[in-house]
């Protein structure tokens, strides 16, 4: 299948006759990026699958509202981030859990869950990331693993690049501290 340029993809997404096919292109193009972004937030594959599906269905329902002021990637990232955080908050409220309970659940998924393949030191790194405050966790993942530019993260999270750099810096320090204390 021929990959469409973003501009052409947007044109096709706007036209009722080509919208569905173009959406198929969109899904194929962005599914892995969105999946791993969501997976790093919710950890468990089944949860990530649910959130990814909701993300893409929400994108489909709101395609007519996308005005191309932001890049498609930024728009999708924003929806995915909101959906993943909403998922965790909903889970927290439904089970009357606090932040620590949720972190314990995520750590359990990390240790016992399926579709996780890494050495002990990398699992420990993920545990350290899970312990970070929400924003630092998001920023660290988006910068370290997803290698997004601060400008891109800023557009997605609506936080200034200065604030993001500070969050990243604090996240790195806390991870280092966690690992050193475990050793």
């Amino acid at each position: 299948m021929v990959a469409l340029e973003e501009k052409e993809l947007l044109v096709q997404l706007r036209h009722p006759n080509t919208r569905k096919q173009a959406f198929g292109h969109l899904v194929r193009r962005y599914q892995q990026m969105l999946y791993f972004h969501i997976r790093r937030i919710v950890i468990d594959h089944e949860d990530a699958d649910d959130v990814l599906q909701n993300t893409l269905l929400k994108a489909w329902k709101n395609l007519h509202k996308f005005r191309a002021e932001a890049a498609l990637k930024t728009w999708l990232y924003r929806i995915a981030t909101n959906e993943a955080l909403t998922f965790l908050n909903r889970k927290k409220r439904q089970a009357h859990q606090d932040v620590e309970d949720i972190q314990n659940d995520l750590r359990h998924s990390l240790r016992e869950g399926k579709h996780i393949d890494g050495e002990e030191i990398q699992i420990q790194l993920q545990e350290a990331i899970i312990r970070l405050p929400e924003r630092q966790r998001l920023v660290f993942n988006m910068r370290y693993y997803e290698e997004l530019k601060y400008d891109e993260i800023s557009a997605i999270l609506g936080v200034t690049t200065g604030g993001l750099k500070a969050s990243y810096h604090h996240a790195v320090k806390k991870i280092e501290h966690y690992i050193v204390n475990r050793a």
Binding site: R28, Q53, L57, W60, H64, H115, K173
Partner: protein, 201 residues
């Protein structure tokens, strides 16, 4: 006329109360090795290149960056197909079918503000720790209207969510009684619907 003093004069004046210091010859006693400044830039550059990363973490520099999360076999091959089947059942509103509403229309903004306030109060009401403090039926609309300062939730988002659920835009067009309709809609919702609405926002 420019009466600004030369820096050397200012310096002399500042030492008026220290005659001994004033008499001393002002020169540096510190001398770098010969050619130090000629090699400095090169030396710094070499040091920068030897620094492994911009992060302050030695741990992160040592651990290979690896994605430990994997997916079931054929997951990414099957996902688009699965999604496109779901999409078939979701009609997408055409751009031209929904006229742009002037959100800044005074009575509309007022109605939205009241509803936002109501939702926020409901949010408090829904929290177990404050349960029984507030009930929807006990909140007079006038009080809600007074809560206009609570604008953390974008009004547009609220209207969109309500509109999707109840075809609100059409009703607003026909009756022009935005405030009443918005509040009626909220009053009609049960706890679960309100909770979902809040989560959507």
């Amino acid at each position: 006329m420019n009466d600004k003093k030369h820096p050397s004069e200012e310096w002399q004046e500042e030492l008026q109360d220290a005659p001994n210091l004033q008499r001393l010859k002002r020169e540096s006693i510190f001398h770098p090795p010969d050619g130090y400044f000629d090699r400095l830039a090169e030396h710094i550059q070499e040091s920068v290149e030897k620094t492994p990363s911009t992060t302050a973490s030695t741990f992160l520099n040592q651990v290979p960056k690896k994605n430990i999360f994997s997916v079931p076999a054929l997951y990414f091959e099957e996902l688009p197909h699965r999604l496109m089947q779901l999409v078939d059942h979701i009609p997408i509103p055409a751009e031209e079918s929904r006229p742009i509403k002037p959100l800044w229309r005074p009575q509309y903004v007022l109605a939205i503000a009241a509803s936002v306030s109501l939702l926020l109060m409901v949010a408090i009401w829904l929290f177990p720790s404050t349960k029984n403090v507030l009930e929807l039926k006990d909140i007079p609309v006038e009080d809600l209207m007074a809560e206009i300062d609570w604008q953390d939730i974008p009004a547009e988002t609220l209207v969109e969510v309500l509109g999707e659920e109840k075809d609100l835009f059409d009703q607003l067009d026909e009756s022009g009684q935005e405030e009443k309709i918005l509040n009626d809609l909220l009053q009609e919702m049960d706890d679960n619907e309100l909770e979902d609405l809040l989560l959507d926002i």
